[in-house]
Each structure stands twice: as structure tokens, then as C-alpha cells.
């Protein structure tokens, strides 16, 4: 427990004071007196002050003490959150007193209804200090769960009172009764915040009780055993898809239900990735991983566990050995980068060969672009243009370009589909140099689709790496060149005559929609202009689409010559 400058004492006092207020309020409901009323309202100011003192100490400590480690900072933050919520609980007690004044007959409140509520709240308040001192996760969870119980108890009173109201008598008192119990229910909401703050103090992560329960269930179905104290759960990142992702490892030297001798491992040996979020997305990811595993064992992470509730789901998957490809592009040795690219292209070639299904199949690049336009404009309001007339020479507006391109896209179906990654971003590929293997992650968008979708996403994810140092930029260019060489080779080998036109549309989409992740306005504008240039070239094209040449200079990778070469690359032939 933190012992500096009396913070822990202040905190203990606050818990005791609020517990006292709660008992007094309970007493007041049984037998309201003026004396008790004055005592409760008088103590409320003291509680307010105590909360302010704790708040000041928490902030000043975090600001002035550089020696605090992360654990201590988490604890101080938790104390602050708990203090704010305790003070709110005390306020609700005073509010209940205020409502009592409106009751013509205090006897109308039924002790058999409010006694269990007060007992539940008191039990939770009693758990706070031990939970904080002993970093007791089960106690923190019990506090969180008391909210469910309080909700349930409130609901019973609410429905009973509502039903009684239909006789039209004592409506005033009955409404007041509902108000009083509603304040007790709101105390449950504050207790939930208290419990979550305690979880934060123990785990060092902001995690909601629902997410925590999902994690717990997923872990227990995955061979981690029941003891959460054995688990180091850290690094939770919010992602663009809105899922929460964390890495889960068994704490070293902890007892291991799987008999893992190294102690660092889950069923997969290296820990796992825990992903929790929208049920539809997580379910889709699970199904896609299963399909990938059937087609290409070892290409995707193994699934250790899956759990779902009403609207969210959680997945525990293998943590893959190796580096993401963007790390290799930017920091790996040249030889390793060359190897990685070789393995990637071989892998892709194999996937495309095995999963190719004859089309034709419509693509929807322009629809994707339109649907993300709002998100782009939210970040960069200027990245759209009106139609322009420059002394008779015209330029179409962004919307006009998309409309025209969409009409053209309808005439350009893909001649075949392959099973695509779906978000073939350079950082969704993991390269394991030791095993000479490339593996895919983040697979909820996988589907049978035009391979051009993955090609354009991969190219643009390289292009938009925010690195401008010439030597590194040249490495990125090399990766794009190698990839283009391979892709055009595949297209030629498969007789895909409209490949370049479709790739122009797909690149226009990827360049434009990528700007929503790029806060460097200059770079975002560069991608926006390139995207519009591609659409203009598509719209301006006359003659058969087989003759359309992708202006590859938009990727600035020096591969202009590639597109003119007819020779398919060695891998594709």
C-alpha cells in the first residue's frame, strides 16, 4: 500500500466514511429522523473534502515524483478513480434522503426489498481496501459483479411498483419509491467503476469487466487453467477495427497446467494473442483461420480458444515467431529482406494456384472508396475536389470521378478469384527467418475475391510507410518492384487482359482510403492526388481495356519498365 503523505490513510477514511453514510441511510429508510438527516447531510461535506484531498495528492504525486514505477502510478490512478466514485456513492445517499421527504408514508418502502440491496453494497465497500492492498483480483471482480446483482434487485422493485401503480392510487409515493431505488441502483454503477479501477491497479490495463470475463473464459477453454494470477496480460492495443488486442503469457515460474517447462508459453509455447471485439468480426476471423488452416497448414496462427456472449466475442490465437514484414523492410538485413520477399512470393504463388476459381466476378473498388470517403474527410476535410473549368479545360470532381470509374469497373470483372488475405497490409505478414516461412495474421476480411485487391493493398501499404530517408525509401521501392514484377507475371501467365485497368482502380481506392490513417497532411495529399490521377487516366482511356497501361509512376518505385515487359517472372511461368 502506498504510504506517502497520508494518502492511504485518507483513502481508508473515505471508504469508512462512505460505508458509514450507507449504514446511516439504511437506518434512515427504516426510521427517518431529523437528527439522522442532519448527520448524513453534514458528513457529506466532509466526504467531498476528503475526495478533493485525495485527488490533489494523487495528481501532485504523479506530477512531482519521477521515481514512481508503472505499478505505483497504476495504483495511484486507481485510488483516484475509486475516490471519485465513492464520493458519488455518498452523494446518492444524500439524494435518497431528499426523495424520502416526498414520501407521504415512509412505511411504503419495503425492508425486504432494500435490505438485500444495502447488504450487497456494504459487502462491496468492505472488499475495496483488501482488494487494493492484496491486489486481489477475485475481490475486484466480485465488486464488479455486485452491479449485476443490484440491477437485478432494482428491476424487481421497479416492475412490482409499476404493476401496483395501475390501480391509480398513491401514484406520487410509488414514483418516489422508484426514484429512491433508482439511486441505489446507480450506486451499483459506481461500484462497477470501483471494481474496474481495482482490476486496472492489478493488471495495469484498462479492461472492462465484460472483456475480462471473456478473457477468463477464453483462457480457461485454452488450457491456461483457472488461476489468472499466473497470467501476464499486457499490451492491449486499440486497433482500427475496434477490437482489443493483447498478448497473454504465463508468468515465469508460475505453475503450469500444461506442463510447459519454460514457463513463458501457452499451448503454443510463446504466449498468445488475445483479441476481443465485435462478434461478427471475431467469428469471421475464426472461420477464416479455420479455412486457411485446411488449405495451408501453418500459414495462419493456431486457434487456442474462442468465446462469445450476446454482442462480442473473443479469440485466443497463437503468437507467431518472427517479425512483421514492415519491420524487415525497414530494419532487416538486405539478405533477410530478399529471403522474406522470395518466400512471400512463393507462398502467394502457391495460394493463388491452389485457390484460383474461374470467374468472371465483379469487383467493388469504387464502392469501397465511396464508403470510406466520409472517414477520409473527417481526418482531412480538404481531400476532395469540386469539378474544375480552367478556360475550357476541365477536371472532374472527386464524386464524378468515382461515378465514372464505377461504371467502367462494372465492365471489367475479374476473370478468376483466389482466396485473398483481405487486408494484405505489409504489417499483417509475419516472416519467420529460422523456418523460412511467411505467415498471415488479421484475417477477418479473407474471402474469395480478385487477387488485385491484395496486390493493391500490399503495394500501397509499402508506399505509405512514413519513411523518407533515401536509402530506406529505396528498399521500399525495391519491395514494390519485386512485387509488381511477380504480379504482372502472374497476370500475363493467366491471360488476365484487364489486370492493369483493375489494378489502377484498386490502387486509386487504396491510395485514397489510406489517407485516413496518415496525419502528415503533405503525405496524405500526395496520395490523394495520385489516386485522382489514376481515376482520370481510367476515365480518359479510349479503346479496348486490354490496351490500358497502368501509369506505374504513381507508385514511384521505378518499375515503369516492368509494365512494358511481356516476360512473366520466373515464379509465375
Amino acid at each position: 500500500m502506498i504510504t506517502f503523505e497520508g494518502l492511504s490513510e485518507n483513502f481508508r477514511f473515505l471508504v469508512l466514511e462512505v460505508s458509514g453514510q450507507l449504514r446511516a441511510t439504511h437506518e434512515f429508510m427504516r426510521a427517518p429522523t431529523r437528527e439522522l438527516f442532519d448527520r448524513i447531510t453534514g458528513r457529506d461535506d466532509y466526504i467531498d473534502n476528503l475526495k478533493t484531498i485525495i485527488e490533489n495528492k494523487c495528481f501532485s504525486r504523479i506530477h512531482t515524483d519521477n521515481s514512481l514505477d508503472r505499478r505505483e502510478i497504476h495504483r495511484i490512478r486507481a485510488i483516484h478513480t475509486i475516490a471519485v466514485n465513492l464520493e458519488r456513492i455518498a452523494d446518492f445517499c444524500v439524494n435518497i434522503l431528499g426523495q424520502m421527504a416526498h414520501l407521504s408514508d415512509p412505511g411504503r418502502l419495503r425492508a425486504d426489498e432494500y435490505d438485500p440491496i444495502f447488504a450487497e453494497i456494504a459487502a462491496s465497500l468492505n472488499r475495496i481496501i483488501p482488494a487494493l492492498e492484496k491486489e486481489d483480483l477475485p475481490a475486484a471482480l466480485a465488486i464488479c459483479r455486485s452491479e449485476y446483482e443490484l440491477d437485478r434487485l432494482y428491476e424487481a422493485v421497479f416492475h412490482r411498483t409499476l404493476a401496483e401503480m395501475s390501480d391509480g392510487r398513491s401514484v406520487h409515493d410509488r414514483i418516489t419509491t422508484i426514484f429512491i431505488f433508482r439511486y441505489l441502483e446507480r450506486i451499483g454503477d459506481s461500484l462497477l467503476n470501483v471494481g474496474e479501477a481495482l482490476i486496472f491497479s492489478v493488471l495495469g490495463e484498462k479492461i472492462k469487466i465484460k472483456q475480462f470475463e471473456a478473457l477468463q473464459k477464453t483462457l480457461s477453454t485454452s488450457g491456461f487453467g483457472d488461476s489468472l494470477s499466473d497470467i501476464d496480460f499486457r499490451s492491449i492495443w486499440g486497433t482500427r477495427s475496434g477490437c482489443r488486442i493483447g498478448r497473454v503469457e504465463r508468468v515465469r515460474n508460475a505453475r503450469s497446467s500444461t506442463g510447459d517447462a519454460e514457463g513463458g508459453g501457452a499451448p503454443g509455447g510463446l504466449g498468445s494473442i488475445y483479441k476481443q471485439g465485435n462478434k461478427k468480426k471475431i467469428l469471421k476471423e475464426r472461420d477464416n483461420i479455420a479455412r486457411w488452416s485446411t488449405l495451408f497448414p501453418n500459414l495462419v496462427p493456431e486457434i487456442f480458444g474462442y468465446h462469445e456472449d450476446d454482442d462480442s466475442a473473443a479469440l485466443l490465437v497463437e503468437f507467431l515467431q518472427g517479425c512483421t514484414l514492415d519491420e524487415i523492410v525497414l530494419t532487416g538485413d538486405v539478405e533477410i529482406l530478399q529471403n522474406a520477399m522470395f518466400v512471400l512470393l512463393q507462398t502467394l504463388h502457391e495460394i493463388w494456384e491452389k485457390t484460383a476459381t474461374p470467374g468472371p466476378v465483379a469487383t467493388d473498388f469504387m464502392r469501397q472508396m465511396r464508403s470510406r470517403m466520409e472517414a477520409v474527410l473527417q481526418v482531412h476535410p480538404g481531400l476532395r475536389r469540386e469539378g474544375v473549368d480552367l478556360c475550357g479545360a476541365g477536371a472532374l470532381s472527386t464524386e464524378q470521378l468515382i461515378d465514372r470509374c464505377e461504371a467502367i469497373e462494372k465492365t471489367l470483372p475479374a476473370p478468376f478469384t483466389v482466396f485473398i488475405h483481405g487486408d494484405f497490409n505489409v504489417n499483417n505478414l509475419v516472416y519467420d527467418h529460422a523456418r523460412q516461412a511467411v505467415r498471415f495474421i488479421d484475417l477477418y476480411r479473407s474471402r474469395d475475391c480478385d487477387y488485385v485487391q491484395d496486390i493493391s493493398v500490399f503495394l500501397v501499404s509499402n508506399y505509405r510507410l512514413p519513411v523518407f530517408e533515401p536509402a530506406l525509401r529505396e528498399r521500399i521501392r525495391w519491395v514494390m518492384r519485386e512485387f509488381m514484377l511477380f504480379a504482372t507475371g502472374v497476370a500475363a501467365a493467366r491471360g488476365d487482359a484487364t489486370f492493369q485497368a483493375r489494378l489502377a482502380l484498386a490502387l486509386a481506392r487504396s491510395l485514397y482510403t489510406s489517407t485516413r490513417f496518415e496525419l502528415n497532411h503533405h503525405f496524405a495529399k500526395d496520395m490523394y492526388l495520385r489516386s485522382h490521377y489514376l481515376m482520370e487516366r481510367i476515365v480518359a482511356h479510349r479503346g479496348p481495356w486490354e490496351n490500358f497501361r497502368l501509369p506505374v509512376e504513381v507508385l514511384d518505385c521505378g518499375c515503369n519498365a516492368i509494365m512494358r515487359e511481356e516476360t512473366p517472372c520466373a515464379l509465375a511461368s
Binding site: 473549368d389 478556360c391 475550357g392 479545360a393 492526388l529 485522382h532
Partner: protein
Amino acid sequence: MSSEEKFVFESLQDCESIRAFLEALTEGVGSKHLVLSSGGERIELYPQGLLQVEVKARRKGGSSKVSLKLEWKDAPRVETTDRTLSVSSN
């Protein structure tokens, strides 16, 4: 008081497509009437008399730039109303 009218258009072009823009501008200068519009905004310019021309070119660190600037003073515009005659410059 004169209010400022402005027109800005930025785009990426290749040498072929940029020719069309330059030719349209050249024609506008030849006819002493340039009309530039974007969305609801429109600006009309009337180059006349003596025009100051500035051509700048630069090559540095792998990027090149050439700019052409034409500048002139507009002739005072004569505006008539029902009863009065006023002369203004903008």
C-alpha cells in the same frame, strides 16, 4: 473596398494531360479573357496592357520546379447606375 477573389486547383498530371491545361490557358491569354471555376466559385480575369512575366526554374535534391507568373493591373472599370457615373478600380 475590393474583396479578394481566388482560385486554386491542384492536381497531378503527366506531360500529355498538362498540355491541355496549358493550351487552354494560352488561348485565354490570347483572347484576353480567362475564366476559372471550381464548384460554385468562379473568377474571370482580363489580361490587358503590359503584363509582368516571371519565369522561375529550380532543380534541387532530385526535384525540379518551373513556375510562370503573369501579373497586371486591371483597368479602372466604368460602372453606370441610373443617375450617376462612378469610376472604381478593383
